[in-house]
Amino acid sequence: MSDFLQNLTDMVDEIKAMRDIIITNIVLIGQIPAPTFKEKRRSMVFMERMAEFGVDEVTTDGYRNPIGIIRGTSPDKPPIFVVAHLDTFIERDIVHNYTIKKDTITGPGILDNSLGVGVMMSLPIIFKRLDLGFESDIVLAGTIQSLGKGNLRGVRHLLKTWPTPIRGGVCIEGVELGRLNYFSDGMIRGEIECRILENMGGKFKYPADAILILNEIINEIMNLRLSQRPRSRIVIGKISGGANHGKVAHDANLGFEIRSDSYKMVKSIYSDIKDIVDGIGHENEVDLNIKTISNLRASRLKFNHPLVKSTASVLHSLGIKPISKSTESALSIFLSRKIPTVTLGITHGENYYSENATAEIEPMFKGIAQVIGVLKSIDQGVCDENQLA
């Protein structure tokens, strides 16, 4: 493996020589709008490109996740998965035209996750040109319905129905180069909806205001005592409501996320929030609802797991400092199914969620080299004898 790590730095320039093809893939896939639940056109282009690149098998699973399979040399070795989610936060009516400058690519959704998908689509041709072969089949999957209300349905289905054991996995995200995610917190994302009909709350002097009701709920949530161990956190991430400045708000919505090392703790906090919502709804005689948008169980690889250690070595060999944080993404679905997996970022960027999201071109080549390094590690067996705790 150390020889391979040595070669990895030389590989960066060879990958850079394929810059035009890689950027073309990013642009061609990224310019197709793919908000969650509307990924069909992007899936078709993904499969067309895979077929054009001579991938051995191009298909979809039963949930319509598009998949390309590069056959390995040892049919008895389980496959290695590479996944990048196809969907973006950007709505279909936003123009998805990308601008390429000397050092950057700018466009809606590029960082989350069009760049990741474009890079994954480029892997077959990169492998071919670098003459890289694997013992395992490499399964390249563009997963659908990942974000928000999609609740990672695509990857959940893909892994649940895959007929064979899976050797290991790499999840690709556009940014940030250096991320080495190998654990996921337990998480519940929820929404609280307040609706006040015109004739509700009539017995009070002043009519109830949906925004003020939510404000009261926020205050109560802030009063909750969260445990230090297991580490727990509540994020109030989204709020909307009302019609105009001078009118009492008849509707309002609050989006929140609970995270913890322990999923049991997440559920307990959710239950506390539900009690708050029920109580305030009852006392104010307003229509208050709480619902779960998505949820994940906590799961992790140990820091001394061979995949984590070998991934860190790959990053170090390329001069990249690994940074590890929890991630609430496809990784947790892999880990919950006991498949050793890491999430890697490809490049650096800014304005992540705006229409002017911008990715740097140059770091991308190291980002791709690290993915190849990790795939080689898995192919050489770092995941084979270590089950997850």
Binding site: R19, D20, I21, I23, T24, V27, L28, Q31, I94, V95, N97, Y98, T99, I100, K101, K102, P108, E355
Partner: protein, 331 residues
């Protein structure tokens, strides 16, 4: 009027998406292909055009042999970006420097004939926001696969960009519908079958382009159609549906200036063909009015309408391409 041209010579780009086939035919016919992008301050779109064309039609499929950018003196980073992505970039003023210098798209296209080497030349505007390699292979296809076709012109849906990240689904083509199509209907009804005569994307054989004059400005698209039609007939022309092209919207006054140049080109050709007889010369200035402090003030712009002669009449060109006589190769 010949009306079956529309059926016989209209294609969809998907008919030419088998790039291996196009490469085979190209190699069998021993044809070389050049792509020219005329530019003037196109830093937002030029890199994308170069990268996609190079990746798909040069690196992956050897369909295009050279990619040339001819710039009219951009003041932004167009030329620097184009060079950094591997294009062969030329300042129009540096090409054939012994000739009088003009500035305009037609000038760039004409000078590209001298700079490029291909038997087929594709011209693509450099401001296409949704560029895809179909814009090139769609135009090359008819030229390679249909021996009688010597010139292919694009048409498409034309959503127009109406502000930051917003488009209007249909629109554009106002000059076509208000100026060109009425003129064609009056003088050359057959040509009305060309859906978008002003589209900025076309490809053709050098043997055609080198034998026609090039207006230096807006009139280039109209003159090209009229001259090819007059000299070789409608059957050598094809049109290809490229689906969708997103472009910048232009205000009415800019379209007025464009129409002025086109009308001038058109009328001069009609005069030359003896189809009309003008008692007076045409003026060189378009006069438009602006409301300034409640008063209308004229805004005058001179559009002379210079034309470059057929390139084959330029001695330096004949020398470079070893052309010893002016015999036409076709028609």
């Amino acid at each position: 009027m010949k009306t079956n041209w529309l059926d016989n010579n209209t294609f969809h780009h998907s008919a030419f998406s088998d790039l291996n086939r196009l490469v085979d035919v190209k190699q069998r016919k021993n044809v070389t292909i050049s792509l020219c992008l005329p530019t003037l301050n196109e830093e937002r779109t030029i890199a994308k055009e170069i990268i996609i064309m190079k990746s798909e039609l040069m690196t992956r499929y050897p369909l295009i042999d050279e990619l040339v950018v001819i710039d009219s003196g951009s003041t932004d980073n167009t030329t620097e970006i184009a060079k950094s992505f591997g294009a062969d970039v030329h300042d129009a003023n540096d090409i054939l420097p012994c000739l009088e210098k003009f500035k305009g798209k037609g000038e760039n296209l004409w000078k590209a004939l001298y700079i490029t080497r291909g038997d087929i030349i594709i011209y693509l505007d450099a401001d296409i926001k949704n560029i895809h390699h179909r814009f090139a292979y769609g135009l090359i296809g008819p030229l390679l696969l249909h021996d009688h076709i010597k010139y292919a012109k694009a048409f498409y849906d034309r959503p127009i960009s109406i502000g930051k990240n917003k488009i209007r689904p249909t629109g554009g083509g106002r000059v076509t519908e208000l100026v060109i199509r009425p003129l064609f209907s009056l003088f050359f009804p057959e040509l009305t079958q060309i859906i978008q005569p002003l589209s900025g994307e076309y490809a053709g054989f050098r043997e055609i382009f080198e034998k026609i004059p090039f207006p230096i400005g807006y009139g280039i698209e109209t003159s090209m159609i009229l001259d090819i039609y007059e000299r070789w007939g409608l059957d050598v022309i094809a049109q290809v549906d490229l689906d969708r092209r997103i472009h910048r919207n232009q205000d009415t006054k800019a379209l007025g200036r464009m129409s002025f140049a086109i009308l001038k080109t058109f009328i001069n050709r009609q005069k030359r063909l003896g189809l009309i007889d003008l008692k007076n010369h045409l003026f060189d200035e378009i006069i438009q009015y602006n409301l300034v402090n409640s008063r209308y003030k004229p805004d005058t712009l001179k559009i002379v309408g210079h034309e470059r002669p057929p390139m084959i009449e330029i001695p330096e060109y004949c020398e470079k391409f070893n052309i010893r006589n002016l015999d036409l190769k076709i028609g």
